[in-house]
């Protein structure tokens, strides 16, 4: 349906196309279901579990001692904005798994956070360089409202999958909906297929 006299004033000449229904944003808006939790790096830790068994735990210092990866990528929020060329530094999930001495798991994974937020992903979408724990944005420590000290980053999916204030990844055999997924958001969330809501 064409809207009379609508021409679109935010069309941007971009080197790359935008996912459907997205617009280009220069700022970095915040989206969270609740307030920003207070996370202290002195007590922070991160755990990987496979089928209920803890296979690795890292403190702030041990995370920083691992091989660090720099990533420049585009990010896409389900609230319709896309931001190009964001710079992140952190540790790939591959590096964490290798440090724990385990083979990349299959199936699905649930990310859990301070504040109780959760989100589900296929295991294949966090390995092979696709997923990182990031602590630095644009050369500076990641701000609390953007998920600092440490958030998950899965840039090829809508940003609600890149869980802020992350504390654990729990690998599991079957897919289970996380926080927003239970409220009608898509189980996978591919921006290029515009998988915003459950039936998209």
């Amino acid at each position: 349906m064409i809207n009379n006299r609508f021409f679109g004033r935010r069309r941007t000449e971009t080197s790359r196309p935008l996912p459907p229904g997205q617009y280009l944003e220069d700022g970095f808006p915040v989206l969270s279901a609740g307030p920003t939790p207070n996370v202290d790096t002195a007590t922070w830790d991160f755990t990987i579990e496979i089928e209920g068994d803890t296979v690795g735990t890292w403190k702030w210092n041990s995370l920083n001692a691992l091989h660090q990866t720099d990533l420049r990528t585009d990010i896409h929020c389900v609230t319709k904005w896309t931001k190009h060329d964001t710079d992140w530094r952190g540790v790939t999930i591959d590096t964490l798994l290798a440090d724990a001495g385990i083979e990349p798991p299959t199936g699905f994974v649930m990310a859990s956070c301070d504040g109780g937020y959760t989100t589900n992903l296929p295991a294949a979408d966090v390995i092979d360089g696709k997923g990182l724990l990031v602590h630095t944005y644009d050369g500076k420590p990641l701000a609390p409202e953007h998920g600092g000290p440490v958030r998950l980053l899965i840039p090829h999916l809508y940003l609600w999958k890149s869980a802020k204030w992350i504390r654990s990844l729990k690998f599991m055999e079957h897919d289970v909906p996380g926080f927003w997924e239970r409220y009608g958001y898509h189980m996978y969330g591919d921006p290029w297929r515009e998988q915003r809501y459950t039936n998209d």
């Binding site: 700022g27 239970r182 459950t198």
Partner: protein, 250 residues
């Protein structure tokens, strides 16, 4: 938790447009498909240009879920905003608009939640809170509710007469309107009025009218507003999962 099935696009007809304040217009949209929703949810709007270019944005429903074949939206005019400018400059009664919804499920209130609630809105952030208050009123809700509504100046107070009427009719509903562009007065809010940004003192003194710490808070507005209020509510001891937030913009 009840899961609502996401619906597809439908073509709504704008039945009326009303200037609610210098920057906010209210739009009544008639829906061809009867659509149930919960107070606090939003719709997505999609505009299409002749060459196929599209823009989508989300808008909270301000009307009560009692009506299922029409919704009201309160849209603030954002300078150079792609979608809000179109609504303010072009949309009129009779315009057709593609919409789909409802969406969102965490930022919702239903009458079955009988404990005291605190609603805090900044500017157009009143939108989803208005749906909650209208629903509470129409279902005869007698659980205590307090609305703190922060706007720049007097003529930015949306739904003013309706809110003031609600406050007169219902002694379990308290309304505090605070104007942030007037010279700040640091006394306690008097007769439902204050003239400064919502701060910890204001929250403490007004929350006392709820008869204890609220069981849940809903905070909606611009991102900085929501961030600041969210932190203050955590400080007064509201459990993290009972501080529900909706951010409209940067």
């Amino acid at each position: 938790m009840k899961i609502e099935k996401a619906t597809g696009w439908q073509i709504a007809t704008v039945t009326s447009v009303h200037d609610e304040s210098p920057r906010v217009k209210l739009f009544q949209l008639e829906l061809p498909v009867e659509t149930k929703f919960r107070a606090g949810q939003f719709f997505d709007i999609r505009l299409t240009a002749p060459d196929g270019y599209q823009a989508q944005r989300s808008y909270s429903i301000t009307s009560s879920p009692d009506q299922t074949n029409s919704i009201e939206l309160a849209i603030e005019h954002i300078r150079d905003g792609e979608v809000s400018s179109y609504f303010h400059e072009v949309v009129e009664a009779g315009s057709l608009i593609e919409v789909r919804g409802p969406f969102g499920g965490h930022f919702t209130w239903s009458p079955s939640f009988r404990k005291p609630i605190l609603l805090i809105g900044g500017g157009s952030g009143i939108a989803p809170l208005m749906s909650m208050l209208r629903h509470r009123a129409s279902t005869g809700g007698n659980s205590p509710a307090l609305l703190m509504f922060s706007v720049r100046q007097e003529d930015d107070v949306l739904f003013k007469s309706e809110l003031e009427q609600m406050a007169r009719d219902d002694d379990k509903f308290n309304l505090i309107i605070t104007l942030t562009r007037l010279a700040a007065d640091h006394s306690e809010p008097f007769a439902g009025r204050a003239t400064r940004r919502i701060d910890r003192t204001m929250i403490d003194s007004t929350v006392a009218t709820l008869g204890g710490t609220p069981a849940r808070a809903y905070v909606c507005g611009g991102s900085n507003f929501v961030e600041a209020i969210g932190n203050q509510l955590a400080d007064i001891g509201l459990p993290y999962e009972e501080i529900r937030t909706e951010r409209f913009g940067p």
